[in-house]
């Protein structure tokens, strides 16, 4: 079902006109309310009058995560503090955490775009929907929560943790939908199996998975093991939170709510805009945000845009699955390596559990990559030759996909840390001097 036909199925001309108008208004707003942007524009000899339509967006300055950190905590807030009704913060593993603020209108737009997403997955008022993103400073939990409420389905604010209890609730409350990270969905499937519950005893039919990149193999695996259909939900706290883009029944690219979040794809090196269909770094401008609006925010996510009307009827542009992040990307012996590449190989082999850890190190000035994987119990054999053969098959496949060789390390069951939020998949021990 399409939640907001007038916005999701708008003609391209109308959409560009709307985006242009909103951009003009936004630029005037930030110029007068955010000293950071006023200074940047003045440095570029740019006045709000220079922005006359959406095509003029390329004249505007970029914003990076570092800018958010440098202006910690409230430097980029445009609305007066009295208008800010909620604040979220990113984990901030390095340096200051990233703080984002929302006005009442921002929150209402957020629950609107979330409702569009859930509706595209097929969620209706009849559904009982469990939100298993972390509630708290992370935007996932509350963002999805208010979207479910706005749509009118029943929300179960399960959050993360206590997975066995959660599985019982899924069964007993006839929960039909779940929002969580794809890695948590796999963990959930494992707990369901360990508890001796058959997926036919569960009523799950819809999964809204996001907050970390995932692959088609992972989708197949989750769908098979939990007996549901899994859809991508994309978002980031700097722009809004979950609901920036969403898949429809086609499961072919995620529709961007581009009346609120204007997407561009740029070359991360030259910062030049790239044409539709070419992969590059995704950049968003928050066309309607009041609390902390951002101009051309560099997401670091690598994807491409797919213009054109979708068979589902929506006209808003789609983005292809995230191929990795320009900052998740590892450069090993000069070769670009994305954890998602390793993941697709591992998920393609039934002998391994769908989790892994990459350990990058430097020995004698040479980068090394170790891929730790768990052998599934059913595939453990007493035959050392067969175990070494299995290891070799994985390392051969990794070599052909990554173009560099990796040391495969077979691990005991349950020895790689499970995650309930975003999973940590890379340990980079290299000390660069």
């Amino acid at each position: 079902m399409i939640w907001n036909t007038s916005k999701e199925c708008m003609s391209r001309e109308q959409m560009r006109e709307l985006q242009g108008k909103r951009l003009q208004k936004l630029v005037v707003y930030v110029y007068h309310n955010v000293p950071f942007y006023r200074r940047k524009m003045q440095e570029m000899d740019l006045s709000p009058d220079d922005i006359r339509g959406i095509d003029d967006i390329v004249k505007l300055p970029f914003t990076t995560k570092q800018d958010l950190r440098d202006n910690y905590p409230y430097g980029l807030m445009a609305a007066p503090r009295s208008e800010v009704v909620r604040v979220h913060a990113s984990s901030g593993t390095t340096g200051n955490p990233t703080i984002v603020g929302y006005t009442r209108r921002d929150l209402s737009i957020w629950s609107e775009v979330m409702a569009r997403s859930l509706s595209a997955y097929g969620v209706t008022r009849e559904d009982t929907f469990s939100v298993s993103y972390g509630y708290g400073l992370f935007t996932g939990g509350l963002g999805a929560h208010y979207g479910v409420e706005n749509l009118g389905a029943t929300v179960i604010p399960a959050s993360t943790g206590n997975t066995e209890k959660h599985v019982r609730l899924i069964r007993d409350l006839h929960i039909t939908g779940i929002a969580c990270t794809p890695s948590y969905a796999l963990y959930l499937a494992e707990v369901v199996e360990r508890m001796g519950i058959d997926k036919s005893e569960l009523d799950l039919r819809i999964g809204a998975f996001g907050a970390e990149p995932w692959t088609e193999n992972m989708r197949r695996e989750i769908q098979e093991r939990l007996g549901l259909k899994g859809y991508n939900i994309y978002g980031l706290s700097e722009i809004m939170g979950p609901g920036v883009s969403y898949e429809c029944q086609e499961q072919h690219g995620s529709h961007i709510n581009e009346d609120h979040f204007y997407p561009e794809i740029i070359d991360p090196e030259t910062l030049r805009p790239l044409p539709a269909g070419v992969q590059g770094e995704l950049v968003f401008t928050t066309l309607t945000k009041e609390g902390m609006p951002l101009l051309r925010y560099r997401t670091k996510d690598l994807t491409s845009l797919m213009p054109g009307t979708c068979p589902c009827g929506r006209t808003n542009v789609r983005m292809t699955p995230i191929m990795g992040r320009s900052d998740d990307m590892l450069i090993i012996r000069g070769i670009n390596v994305f954890p998602s590449q390793v993941e697709s190989v591992i998920l393609g082999m039934k002998e391994f559990e769908p989790r892994y850890m990459l350990v990058v190190d430097r020995r004698n000035n040479l980068d090394t990559l170790e891929v730790q994987v768990e052998v599934r119990r059913d595939f453990f054999t007493d035959d050392i030759g067969a175990m070494l053969g299995l290891k070799k098959r994985l390392s051969d496949k990794l070599k052909s996909v990554l173009s560099i060789s990796a040391d495969v390390k077979l691990m005991e069951p349950n020895s790689i840390a499970r995650s309930e939020g975003k999973s940590q998949r890379v340990i980079d021990k290299r000390v660069l001097v």
């Binding site: 453990f380 007493d382 035959d383 050392i384 175990m387 077979l410 691990m411 005991e412 069951p413 020895s415």
Partner: protein, 138 residues
């Protein structure tokens, strides 16, 4: 007659063998013999224990990857040359030994063999009247 051997997959990590034997000990499972096969980054611990089914259960409960494997256990005299005679019987029948390990006490020795062809191995040993042990004799 074959007996069940317990095989445990282990990462090469200090203290891991101890985790296995401690678990067995706490559950009252006795070890009669074992051998450790190792590669660069993992090993397989093979054991003959008093209760294989229970051992599999308790180790799985501790997240170990374990399985039980059929092996032959032979008894022979603990004197020079006695094993050579038996292995000669197997070699003549072109029976390959994947792995084996042995333990001797006083005048008797016991040899655990994992042949590539169990049926022919047992037939050959029987034909030559070798002392093949069953579980309850251990």
């Amino acid at each position: 007659m074959t007996i069940k051997q317990l095989s445990v997959f282990l990462e090469n990590k200090t203290g891991r063998i101890n985790d296995v034997v401690r678990t067995l000990g706490q559950n009252g499972i006795n070890m009669h013999a074992f051998s450790m096969a190792e590669t660069a980054d993992f090993g397989i611990l093979r054991l003959i224990v008093s209760d294989v089914d229970r051992a599999v259960e308790v180790l799985r409960g501790q997240d170990f990857a374990v399985m039980s494997t059929d092996v032959v256990c032979l008894g022979c005299a603990n004197v020079p040359g006695s094993l050579a005679v038996i292995l000669e019987y197997l070699a003549q029948e072109q029976i390959f030994i994947d792995y084996m390990y042995a333990f001797a006490q006083n005048d008797r020795a016991h040899v655990v063999i994992k042949p590539n062809d169990m049926t022919r191995c047992l037939a050959t040993l029987k034909q030559h009247g070798c002392d093949v042990l069953s579980d309850n004799e251990l």
